[in-house]
């Protein structure tokens, strides 16, 4: 508990700083785009009506989906600019997050600009013309000042939305206060989750308050209030930027280790980072990457190394469905990744994190179920899976091999799967073989006599930039073949268990001592 709080505090300057930079940039960009668009929209109905409709539609796209959509979009654009102009844009992290958040910021601002301008008293507009103002002078001296309070209200709404939605930029590789929430949810560290939520809410409230002061300054024509609000905003931004400015992160020479969005990945990325630091590299981590985003990030050079699993790469990257056997799969993967993407596989870490299916022991025994083949006799059983399993080839293979297509399915956040099976909410659940909680909860793993499920050896992948870097490879090589399934299960349990929960960093340090150097 105390450890978690201390760790959370330690991360705050970085997370909060990046969160503020992203949110404020998106808001500024949102205002800069929405003001002229709003003015144009209020001048022409033919332009305004479809514009507002389009922006409203954007608002209905769930935040996470919108953010995730910008990644492939920018990736495609990046390929295009590479072909046309010889440079590529960064598809991961700040840029896609900024674009998506800017779109979110636009609706409230745009709508209020249009409403405010349309609602102005025609007699006042006539007077502006009558005293000899040009249309431009009328806009800047009369219409915009009169619209300002409503426009500011729109900016306040946008601010609260954007600061909240910024937490969702974590899975596309942009650090934010969302890192607390995503990591916390994965490893059931509620201190982290709470920390992230409270920090984001506090930030939103502070910014909203400052804008409210600015608004009252406008309304009361009080220069003092406007200055106070301005200084407050500058202070918040400066405070957020201070750690960044004091210790500018090395933009290019630093190594970035990637991690997908679950505990084992956090531990392994910390382990790799610590081995590289011991070898003298400056290292940072980018965690909570979506599964395929991590691989793309490696090929694009956004990250330099991470751990992926043979079965995942086999299906997702090589698009193969055949099952050549465990070692053959590793060999063919290594060759293909090298040839197609310039990525080097240092080899298997020594354990598998395979998709398996598990049941509560008492339930399995009562129904005489030992293997996946036995499930076919019980079509009324409910099967729980994580968000992706039922759309993955593994499930299709299992369902086809054992005739399980008709089973009732339910999807859960991965950590809640164990709760679901223990409470009887689900009879069978998908799980991962290296998860320490399988043994902890005394679940039985259903056998796979037809070998329908592929192997999932943990492979250490190194991106093109360091494929020939002997010092880099020497620092990581001792990890290869040295992590047993039991050690990984124990490590995962330290992070996942409810009592005496350890942070991924502490667990990585614990593993580091037990592994060869």
């Amino acid at each position: 508990m105390n450890d978690s709080v201390r760790e959370a505090w330690g991360l705050l300057p970085d997370y909060l700083g990046q969160h503020v930079i992203l949110s404020v940039s998106a808001l500024l960009l949102g205002v800069a785009v929405s003001l002229p668009l709003g003015i144009a929209a209020s001048r022409s109905r033919r332009f305004g009506t479809p514009l507002l409709a389009a922006v409203s539609v954007v608002q209905t796209i769930p935040g996470l989906a919108l953010l995730a959509l910008f990644y492939p979009l920018l990736l495609a654009l990046s390929v295009l600019t590479q072909d046309l102009f010889g440079f590529s844009i960064r598809a991961l992290g700040f840029l896609p997050a900024l674009l998506a958040l800017t779109l979110y910021a636009m609706l409230p601002i745009l709508r209020n600009v249009v409403t405010a301008l349309a609602g102005l008293d025609p007699a006042i507009l006539m007077a502006a013309k009558g005293v000899g103002m040009t249309p431009r002078q009328s806009l800047f001296k009369v219409e915009l000042p009169l619209a300002a309070p409503l426009v500011l209200a729109g900016i306040r709404t946008a601010t609260v939305w954007v600061v909240g939605i910024t937490t969702l930029s974590t899975p596309i590789g942009q650090t934010s206060l969302g890192n607390y929430i995503f990591t916390g949810l994965q490893i059931e560290n509620w201190v982290f989750v709470l920390f992230g939520c409270v920090a984001a809410a506090a930030l939103a409230l502070v910014l909203d308050l400052l804008l409210a002061v600015a608004g009252s300054g406008l309304a009361m024509r009080s220069r003092g209030r406007l200055i106070a609000a301005g200084l407050g905003l500058v202070a918040v931004i400066a405070a957020a930027l201070a750690p960044e400015l004091a210790h500018p992160r090395p933009a290019h020479q630093g190594i970035v280790i990637g991690a997908k969005n679950f505990g084992e990945q956090y531990i392994l990325s910390q382990l790799m980072a610590s081995r590289l630091r011991q070898a003298g590299f400056s290292v940072s981590e980018k965690s909570d990457l979506g599964s395929t985003i991590a691989f793309r990030a490696l090929t694009a050079g956004d990250i330099d190394a991470y751990v992926d699993y043979s079965g995942t790469l086999w299906g997702n990257i090589l698009h193969r469905t055949d099952m050549p056997g465990r070692q053959a799969m590793l060999d063919q993967l290594a060759a293909a990744l090298k040839k197609d993407h310039g990525i080097v596989s240092l080899g298997s870490l020594g354990f598998e994190n395979a998709y398996i299916f598990a049941m509560r022991r008492d339930r399995a025994e009562a129904l005489h179920i030992k293997s996946l083949a036995d499930l076919a006799a019980h079509p009324d059983l409910r099967i729980g899976g994580d968000f992706e399993i039922f759309s993955r080839p593994e499930w299709r293979a299992v369902a086809a091999a054992y005739g399980l297509g008709a089973m009732k399915r339910r999807q859960y956040q991965p950590d809640f799967l164990y709760r679901a099976v223990m409470s009887g909410d689900a009879d069978v659940v998908s799980a991962f073989s290296s998860d320490g909680r399988i043994a902890r909860y005394g679940l039985v793993i259903l056998e796979d006599p037809k070998a329908a499920l592929p192997p999932y050896d943990a492979m250490l992948l190194v991106g093109p930039a360091h494929a020939q870097d002997a010092k880099f490879i020497a620092a990581l090589k001792p990890l290869i073949g040295s992590i047993s399934l039991t050690l990984m299960q124990q490590a995962n349990l330290r992070v996942d268990r409810d009592q005496d929960k350890q942070t991924p960093a502490a667990t990585a340090a614990w593993m580091d001592q037990r592994l060869p150097h």
Binding site: M126, G132, T134
Partner: protein, 254 residues
């Protein structure tokens, strides 16, 4: 001198002729009042003088120059206009409202300050008390005085007023009307004022122009109108105040 020749206007899509075949000549320094029932085309006529409304046909000459040949923005800066309901800018103080046109014309700030001071004095508002107030902090009469000051800020030779006293109580109305007439005289303005109140017209006008259904029925001094009204409509207009004054006097004497 303002000359209006063959002026006509029909608003797009309205089907009716707002103003038709309107001819009028207003000599320099004259106070002319346009009167007629609501919808008779008074505002439309007035607005065509400074091109807030563009005429369909005809000509308006100010000091010999066709307004359609001048840049409308510059034209409006050289014509004072007091709008129905004042039309003050609600986000600007009294001083800022008055300074609008001088600022548009690029006067230097010292000159503008002096001018604002002069004008507040002219419309009898104490500078210390009023200069920094917003329009919402003024009474109706004070608002119309500020509107008058704003209209006159850039020393225009021509002043247009569209029912400037419509929203005022009778006592304030009389006071502001007297001030308008006094300032017109003092500055040697050529003034066109719209009203639908014949008493007001009779008290203020050098000449009165009567409109109905977009047409000019008769122009003349109050005496001429009273002595030889062009038709029943003008007779009724003129008789109305006399009859009311009579009825009132009888009631009070009874």
């Amino acid at each position: 001198m303002i000359e209006i020749l063959q002026l006509s206007k029909a608003y797009a899509g309205s089907g009716t002729q707002a103003v038709s075949d309107f001819n009028l000549s207003v000599p320099e320094g004259e106070f002319l009042v346009l009167i007629g029932p609501s919808g008779s085309g008074k505002t439309t006529t007035l607005n065509m003088v400074n091109r807030l409304v563009e005429p369909d046909g005809g000509e308006i000459r100010i000091q010999g120059r066709n307004v359609l040949d001048s840049d409308p923005v510059m034209l409006r800066r050289n014509i004072g206009y007091v709008f129905q309901e004042a039309g003050l800018f609600p986000h600007m103080t009294v001083a800022e409202n008055i300074a609008v046109t001088p600022n548009l014309l690029g006067w230097d700030q010292a000159r503008i300050r002096t001018r604002v001071h002069q004008l507040l004095d002219m419309v009898q508002l104490e500078e210390a008390a009023f200069a920094n107030r917003l329009p919402v902090e003024l009474s109706g009469g004070q608002r119309q005085r500020v509107a008058l000051a704003r209209a006159l800020a850039a020393r225009p030779p021509v002043l247009l007023l569209d029912e400037p006293f419509g929203a005022l109580d009778p006592v304030t109305r009389e006071a502001v009307a007297a001030d308008v007439r006094r300032i017109h005289q003092r500055l040697g303005l050529t003034t066109l004022m719209v009203t639908h109140d014949m008493t007001e017209a009779l008290l203020m006008a050098d000449r009165i122009a009567v409109m109905r259904d977009g047409r000019l029925i008769q122009v003349g001094t109050p005496h001429e109108l009273a002595a030889s009204p062009a038709d029943d409509f003008v007779t009724q207009l003129i008789e109305n105040p006399r009859r009311r004054a009579h009825a009132l006097a009888e009631m009070l004497n009874a």
